[in-house]
């Protein structure tokens, strides 16, 4: 049980970027080294983690922990994953507040902010490609972006509406068939 904590702590501490960047590291530890899950079990866990909302790394920690050590295991694995970020960010938050007005820090962040925007534009293109967005479907993300950006509509409501639309479309498809 303790090695469950240390394993996920290590993964949380050494993988930058989160999400998909963490998956190979988790698979290597959980499947190849510790043999807590078989390859198939891991892939199943990955499918579930991806489909569920929330943080991918947290979802998969919960599933691995639960599979191997029950309810307690899922808590411990998640704590392992979360704790490194938690401690590090807390220290940064405490420290950063104090240096925020420093002119050097101000200059550095003036350079960083536009770059962050670029880092968010890039995944728009890559996720559009993997979602197979073409000229005929580009209006959907376009409309969603416009609703949030210009009309200030909550993404939560949009997600609820989209889920309802998905269900309705399938309902009519099934009735026709």
């Amino acid at each position: 049980m303790f090695s469950l904590f240390t394993t996920f702590f290590k993964i949380g501490l050494f993988t930058f970027g989160g999400g998909w960047a963490m998956i190979p590291a988790i698979e290597k530890e959980v499947v190849d080294i510790k043999k807590w899950l078989s390859k198939e079990e891991f892939l199943d866990a990955l499918v579930i983690s991806q489909s569920l909302p929330g943080i991918l790394a947290v979802n998969i920690s919960i599933l691995v922990g639960q599979k191997r050590f029950g309810q307690k295991g899922s808590l411990i694995a998640t704590l392992g994953t979360v704790l490194p970020s938690f401690i590090l960010i807390l220290l940064i938050a405490m420290f950063f507040v104090k240096i925020y007005d420093n002119p050097i820090v101000v200059a550095i962040f003036k350079g960083i902010r536009p770059a962050v925007v670029a880092l968010i534009i890039a995944p728009v293109l890559s996720t559009a490609k993997s979602a197979k967005i073409g000229w005929r479907t580009v209006w959907i993300p376009g409309l969603i972006a416009l609703l949030v950006w210009q009309w200030g509509i909550s993404p939560v409501y949009l997600i609820l509406v989209v889920v309802a639309i998905g269900l309705t479309i399938q309902y009519f498809k099934s009735r026709k068939a």
């Binding site: 929330g54 938690f86 507040v97 962040f109 536009p114 890039a122 939560v156 949009l158």
Partner: protein, 175 residues
């Protein structure tokens, strides 16, 4: 009251955060910047930058940071981080087995087919919202953004280095 709001906001983000970190940014931004105005847009951008440069998922990083900055206490951080993970626990316990069984179910597929382009739109909204005068102070900002975009798009360079280079350039140009 603030603690209750923080809990509720991060619970919602955990519950509706489909599509990974970047899609989650738009949810966090909507709640934290637009709705509750706990952070200004440039402060929020800085949180994203810090999250990119530190290990771990961006959702956790932002929860911990915002929990601390808004309340000034470690308990605030613990609360937001806990609230963010709570829906995952509930959902794994309740529906994870069902999901595997019904993964090929047409209704489940239809929902995800509809969610995919939505997520693209949400990430685009996050990018558009960040393109304001707080983050783009002059024409040099546009050069920085274009340069960073070219690096991410056409080289295999890790985002951490892009931020470091931009920070250094910022220091040289504005410092």
């Amino acid at each position: 009251m603030l603690y209750l709001q923080l809990f509720w906001v991060y619970f919602k983000i955990g519950l509706f955060g489909f599509g990974g970190g970047y899609a989650m940014i738009s949810l966090i931004q909507y709640e934290v910047v637009e709705h509750y105005q706990w952070l200004s847009l440039s402060e929020f951008t800085d949180v994203v930058a810090i999250s990119q440069m530190t290990p771990g998922p961006i959702g956790i990083n932002s929860a911990t940071y915002i929990g601390y900055v808004t309340t000034g206490s470690i308990f605030g951080s613990m609360l937001t981080t806990f609230a963010l993970c709570l829906p995952s626990f509930i959902l794994v316990v309740t529906i994870s087995k069902l999901l595997l069984k019904y993964n090929d179910n047409l209704y489940v597929r239809s929902i995800f087919a509809a969610l995919r382009p939505t997520i693209v739109g949400l990430i685009a909204a996050a990018a558009l919202l960040l393109m304001n005068s707080e983050n783009f102070t002059d024409w040099k900002s546009i050069v920085f953004c274009a340069g960073a975009f070219a690096l991410v798009r056409w080289t295999k360079i890790h985002p951490i280095w892009v931020i470091c280079i931009a920070g250094l350039a910022g220091y040289i140009v504005y410092g």
